[in-house]
């Protein structure tokens, strides 16, 4: 089993190329001009972060129910990739915000809740890193993976609960999306492309975890074998 496989990377690359073209071809925003093209990465990144954490949530529940190691691996991998995409969304949002809002960071509820979500899942990863025993780790991570997910709806709803600077839902909302249709098309292509990248990352991470687990479950030496009888000959005879 190779880390990346063959077909998925090709699909992802093709989709990314198409997405890039679509992003460049789509009309510039009336007010923001070309800057607005950052949207084609920022928005998919944010959504894929949500997807990652949703997978972590589902896999954690599945682990608590079935206790199969593969759910634990999936949860961990999805969380890692989710953290990556959260970071990407934050960085691109900052880059976008500097010219649009005039600052890198503002105390906008969506921004703050996103940052908190980032910290929560960093905590998730820190918890995993700190726990060695696989079973204990899987349990604690599963409980926390379920609990942590409350952050996601909070991030999504934050713009509605607290009226703010950040774009309110324009696509993911009931009714017709309030966005230019060619922009929407370009956005959707990019969402698709980054989803392929997401799948690629998660799969690679899961395979890495499988390999690691297999290495660990090879019947190694018994813990007790390291202890031998004392070797007393010749030791302090020389004094």
């Amino acid at each position: 089993m190779t880390l990346f496989g063959r077909r998925l990377p090709i699909i992802a690359a093709v989709l990314l190329a198409v997405g890039l073209v679509a992003g460049l071809v789509a009309p510039p925003d009336r007010i923001q001009g070309n800057l607005q093209r950052l949207m084609y990465v920022h928005v998919p990144a944010a959504w894929l972060a949500f997807l990652g954490f949703a997978i972590t949530f589902g896999a954690s529940l599945a682990w608590l129910w079935r206790r199969k190691p593969r759910y634990d691996r999936l949860a961990a991998s999805a969380a890692e990739v989710g953290v990556f995409f959260t970071g990407l969304a934050i960085v691109l949002g900052s880059v976008w915000g500097k010219p649009v809002w005039g600052v890198w960071w503002t105390w906008d509820p969506r921004l703050v809740t996103t940052a908190l979500m980032f910290f929560v899942y960093l905590g998730y990863l820190a918890l995993r890193r700190a726990t060695l025993d696989p079973l204990v780790r899987a349990r604690r991570a599963a409980v926390f993976g379920v609990l942590a997910f409350v952050q996601v709806p909070i991030v999504h709803m934050s713009v509605l609960w607290w009226r703010s600077l950040h774009q309110p839902p324009t696509v993911l909302k009931p009714g017709d999306p309030t966005i230019d249709h060619s922009m929407l098309a370009a956005l959707l292509v990019n969402v698709l492309a980054f989803t392929a990248v997401f799948a690629l990352f998660v799969r690679a991470r899961v395979r890495l975890a499988v390999a690691q687990d297999e290495e660990d479950t090879l019947p190694g030496p018994l813990a007790g074998d390291v202890v031998t009888a004392p070797r007393l000959e010749g030791v302090s005879r020389d004094e």
Partner: protein, 207 residues
């Protein structure tokens, strides 16, 4: 002695990992009711781990564990709250198991700590803490008693306490598993001795 047909504990093909290293590997063990089983083995062979498995505190990665309780485990480190007095510690155990406070005082008197009952556990000597831990058994009256090097730190007069405790369990028809490195002690105290090596048990050759 009430001999019963169903065993007090039964482990079948048990595999146990601790922090990803394999400690027990395909272990089978039956502890009969009314039996006092001695368990010996080299340092690091997994005796304490096995007691934890018998107490259902560590789940096996494979195999089945069947145990009839109530179980008490006296491990290497006493289970005392160091800022509570000895009396408070034992009363806490008594209340958790729905017993009267008087039982706690009686237990302390039995182990010879009545006069030290109001001393905080962290102001006690090593042996006093070991004794206080032992006193728990007089409170909870377990039917499976797991003793991990229980003689450690007990002085000459209190070493007899162990015989007393083990006798009590046996008389109630329960079972004991006694871990010790002192082969004479084990041979004297137990009905049968097994040795733990290579992650399994085998009948021991007792000197």
């Amino acid at each position: 002695m009430h001999l019963q047909l169903s065993p007090q504990a039964e482990l079948t093909d048990v595999h146990v990992d601790v922090q990803r290293t394999s400690v027990l590997r395909g272990l089978d063990l039956v502890v009969a009711a009314g039996e006092v089983l001695g368990l010996i083995g080299a340092n690091g062979s997994g005796k304490s781990t096995l007691l934890n498995v018998l107490a259902t505190l560590i789940p096996p990665v494979a195999g089945t564990v069947q145990v009839r309780g109530p179980v008490a485990l006296l491990g290497h480190a006493p289970a005392l709250y160091s800022q509570l007095t000895l009396r408070e510690n034992l009363q806490f155990v008594a209340r958790m198991t729905g017993r009267d406070d008087a039982v706690a005082d009686a237990a302390l008197a039995t182990v010879g700590l009545a006069a030290a009952a109001d001393r905080r556990a962290d102001r006690c000597s090593h042996g006093m803490r070991r004794r206080a831990d032992l006193a728990r058994v007089f409170v909870t009256k377990p039917s499976l008693l797991l003793l991990d090097e229980v003689h450690t730190g007990l002085d000459v007069t209190s070493a007899a306490l162990v015989d007393h405790v083990v006798d009590g369990v046996r008389r109630r028809g329960g079972a004991c598993v006694v871990v010790s490195h002192d082969r004479d002690q084990v041979a004297r105290l137990t009905d049968r001795v097994v040795e733990l090596a290579a992650g399994r048990v085998a009948p021991a050759v007792v000197a």
